[in-house]
Subunit: 256 residues, 2 copies
């Protein structure tokens, strides 16, 4: 009888191999097939005998179906995802495909290996901006209407959450981040710290902190994670050369 296949959605973390968990490494080594966006596959060391199925970055559903199909043929499959696969990444695409696919896919051994998601790495670089209640919003409007993005942003502002923005900009929608920052500036003070963290953990990492009043002039792309502070978020100046520490106090009463 053929051995049953399996599928693991693996989070590579933000880019630095030192942030790849041992569990994720083991899942990559155990796989017979690696399925993923080619830029993520390029991060995985080559192993003899392992099949690679590279895709462009607009084919998440195709990747998911191929991986499920391979697993249902008895293969050990790893779907490779950046960051944490459950946060605006491949895990949801896989379970959408399971839900819409043949009933037999529901019986497959499907697992998710968590990873360090971009907002945690970005936060770590400047201090503890996510130190109190926070939310994560993807600004990509490929997948949801702009009105939904705006409604969620306004709700997050009303709740005084720290706001992490994923996929803040692309060539197709250069104005979206600016619009989000203008909405934030209607509610939060001009001194509110905003963090721009580009490619954290990769060779082209750039991290900057700017106040909300000046944040709209900052550049961002799809590899940038933006964090907008809550009303209690504070900067600690460290002198001219160093970027400030940024943190959000644990206690609401600690607000000055």
């Amino acid at each position: 009888m053929r051995a049953p296949g399996n599928l693991t959605v693996v989070g590579l973390g933000p880019g630095d191999p030192q942030w790849l968990t041992p569990a994720a490494s083991a899942a990559l080594v155990a796989a017979q097939d690696l399925v993923g966006y080619h830029a993520y596959l390029d991060r995985v060391p080559a192993m003899s005998g392992q099949q690679r199925h590279g895709f462009d970055n607009r084919s998440e559903s195709d990747r998911a179906r191929l991986a499920l199909d391979l697993a249902s043929q008895g293969r050990r499959v790893a779907v490779v995802s950046g960051g944490d696969p459950g946060v605006f990444a491949m895990a949801a695409a896989v379970f959408e495909a399971v839900d819409a696919g043949p009933l037999a896919w529901r019986a497959l051994d499907i697992r998710v290996e968590p990873g360090v998601t971009a907002m945690l790495a970005a936060a770590a670089r400047v201090g503890a901006p996510l130190g109190n209640d926070f939310c994560a919003i993807s600004l990509s409007d490929n997948l949801k209407p702009r009105a939904v993005v705006e409604q969620r942003l306004r709700a997050a502002l009303a709740g005084d959450f720290v706001i992490a923005l994923y996929n803040p900009a692309s060539l197709a929608r250069p104005g979206q981040l600016g619009a989000a920052l203008r909405i934030a500036a209607e509610v939060r003070g001009p001194e509110t710290p905003v963090i721009f963290a580009h490619a954290v953990g990769r060779p082209d990492e750039r991290v900057a902190v700017e106040c909300l009043a000046k944040a709209q002039s900052m550049a961002a792309d799809m590899a940038t994670l933006v964090v907008i502070g809550a009303s209690a978020t504070r900067s600690i100046d460290r002198g001219s050369d160093a970027i400030p520490f940024v943190y959000t106090p644990r206690s609401i009463r600690a607000r000055c």
Copy 2:
């Protein structure tokens, strides 16, 4: 001249050593002093020559000040934190202490090593419930008034975020999670999936999925992470023995 000290706030992840990043491991090995809640220190293998400073779980500010004091004396210090240190954990306590402490502390080499936070591990165990916009709220009212918790919960519901609840219950406030679930049930449908993930990655791990209508009867403690689905969050039934897959679609338009 004395070598300058440093301080790294290290995230151990949710408990399974296979989720400890190589960077976090290296920071633990490099430290001369480990400072932390004793239950977290117990997870770190003993190393000869390393000093351990164990604390109870209500002394975060004391831990932070001791660690900063040691670093300012030239020691290499690791503050040990569960999960990701920036999420309801020790990193904010350290930067609060820096902000309130002597100016010399601002010049210290202070870093944060990110980790897999509990909601990512809990989500991974059931599928991809955090697959669209989400928020994280700590229900602990030691640090903020209940009215703030309730206001944030209502804002998160208004924005249709998936909601991860940290610190959902303790002996001192057994009713707080029930109150949160009742508020959620005013807005979200009775079939909304709710995930109860206790001690994920540790020997006493227990994970359950219940619909919101029945969730109030579920037990939770401080080691439980609770995730309340958004309106689009779906369960995929896998038969009587297995817990269902739970995911939130990437696309808003995919909602049935």
